[in-house]
């Protein structure tokens, strides 16, 4: 149908059809454009194309190119690089900075999420039983009578030595606890004679 239609139009352009067919063609709005195109082609072949028409064409071509997406995009940057390296020098660090911000933000997000996850975990751990999730035990457990949880020893000694050791650990820890009460009235600022700058390891 289409092919046939084209032939009609072509024939009509050349004035080789009867009036009846021409009337039919006039009624067929779809073919009007083809009619115009064929006339234009004919004019162009005969070198009779007017200037306004050619301008109109180039404008529509330009419009078509402008509307053409994506593929054209990289071209301007390469052109810019070749033509003006100074401008690109400014553009690239800017983009790098944005990249770094993005990375920093991502790291922060991960850190926050990680810690929050941890918190949730510990809450879940603690909610059914109030037992804290703490360091694993090493060796045999020997509880200190003070309320400080189990104490571990890595070596085994005789019972006497064990008892002595335990007693002395207790004594130190108890004394430390007592000192916390006694020392609290001491003002830190009054006793800063020690140089606390770390010595290089």
């Amino acid at each position: 149908m289409d092919k046939l239609g084209q032939e009609w139009v072509s024939a009509a352009v050349d004035g080789e059809i009867d009036e009846h067919t021409l009337a039919e063609l006039v009624a067929d709005a779809d073919s009007h454009e083809q009619w115009r195109d064929y006339h234009m082609i004919g004019d162009a072949m005969r070198g009779e194309l007017s200037k306004t028409v050619s301008l109109d064409l180039s404008a529509s071509i330009m419009a078509a190119i402008d509307e053409e997406p994506a593929i054209v995009a990289p071209k301007p940057t390469t052109v810019a690089k070749e033509s003006n390296s100074g401008a690109t020098g400014k553009v690239i660090p800017l983009f790098k900075q944005f990249g770094q911000y993005a990375i920093a933000a991502t790291v922060a997000m991960v850190a926050v999420v990680g810690v929050q996850n941890y918190n949730q975990d510990s809450l879940v751990d603690n909610s059914p039983l109030p037992v804290l999730n703490t360091r694993p035990l090493i060796g045999s457990a020997s509880p200190v009578s003070l309320q400080t949880g189990a104490v571990q020893q890595s070596q085994s000694y005789t019972n006497d030595q064990m008892a002595d050791q335990r007693r002395r650990i207790n004594a130190y820890i108890q004394d430390h606890m007592l000192q916390q009460r006694l020392n609290n009235g001491v003002n830190i600022d009054d006793n800063s004679e020690v140089d606390t700058t770390p010595v290089a390891q």
Binding site: A150, D164, Q165, A171, Y172, Q174, G185, N191, S192, V194
Partner: protein
């Protein structure tokens, strides 16, 4: 358009004041609240496999701070503070008073003190919000600047700035100790018990004048922010053994260093209890250096190794 935006920003400013408050300002408000407000908090202290319910009441009588701490379970164990005197009333020994401006052992004394003192060892970072004891709480992380000490996080009540929860966390993010407020009551007037405590005659303050005579011990290394508080010679409370004693602190973490004659059985080089209290021993000839404190055992080891006589 820009004008509208500006108007919106200007209108929302009062509401954003609290949002914009830096972490340190939150802690400073907490410090002020702990010193000035009148309140009663019921809290539980979680340490390894121990849970202790406590009540802490704080107020002001005749412009002096009065506080009362009571352990609710087990044998009676209370502490009363009037001004700068703290009296411990415990079942196993006669009551005694010490010179102190906080009741030690529950809420860290540093929290009611100048927060700037902690800045060498810790950074303050605002965290999220959550509901604790039925109140909205703002999390403030107290992050150690190195791995020589533990980190802390504290949730502050958004109305009163009083602490609602306090966690001590090891370097590998294990929870070592937790204080959890279950009820916070802001009081309108001083409770009767504090008025009573203020009138009461307490035992005289233990004489601290004998805390002298310590050798001139020095440390070739201490973690940043740690300072020597006190040096003396005394006998250990339990074993009556004579020791040279040095107390060091960075404000939050307190370390005791002892130099004593070595015992028959060597003490373990490093020992960690499950609530974060560690002990490290360094043997020097027939003497031993013992460091105890709530910091990683590695830190204690290093401190014990770096002690020297001037």
């Amino acid at each position: 358009m820009r004008l509208i935006l500006l108007a919106i920003i200007a209108m929302s400013f009062p509401a954003m004041a609290r949002e914009d408050m830096p972490a340190k300002a939150w802690l400073e408000n907490m410090s002020q609240a702990l010193r000035e407000q009148e309140f009663k908090i019921s809290l539980i202290q979680l340490q390894a496999d121990h849970i202790r319910p406590l009540v802490y009441i704080h107020g002001k009588v005749n412009d002096e701070e009065v506080a009362f701490l009571e352990h609710l379970n087990g044998p009676p164990k209370n502490a009363v503070r009037v001004g700068n005197t703290v009296t411990f009333i415990e079942h196993d020994q006669p009551a005694y008073s010490v010179h102190s401006n906080r009741i030690q052992g529950v809420i860290p004394a540093a929290f009611a003190d100048d927060i700037s003192k902690l800045e060498t060892g810790y950074q303050f970072v605002l965290g999220g919000r959550s509901r604790i004891a039925g109140r909205p709480g703002q999390l403030v992380r107290i992050i150690p600047t190195d791995d020589n000490r533990y980190g802390y996080q504290v949730w502050l009540d958004m109305d009163t700035y009083l602490p609602l929860r306090f966690d001590m966390i090891s370097g590998d993010k294990q929870l070592l100790e937790q204080l959890l407020v279950v009820e916070l009551l802001v009081l309108d007037e001083v409770p009767a018990i504090l008025k009573e405590a203020y009138k009461q005659e307490w035992p005289p303050v233990l004489s601290q004048s004998d805390r002298e005579g310590g050798e001139d011990w020095q440390f070739s290394w201490l973690p940043a922010g740690f300072k020597v508080l006190i040096k003396d010679q005394h006998r250990l409370i339990g074993s009556k053994e004579a020791v040279e004693y040095i107390a060091i602190s960075d404000g939050l973490a307190n370390i005791s260093v002892y130099v004593a004659k070595a015992g028959e059985a060597p003490l373990p080089e490093e020992l960690v209890t499950r609530n974060g209290l560690s002990l490290a021993t360094e043997r020097v000839g027939n003497a031993e250096v013992v460091a105890v404190g709530k910091v990683p055992a590695e830190t204690l080891s290093r401190i014990a190794k770096s002690i020297m006589l001037q």
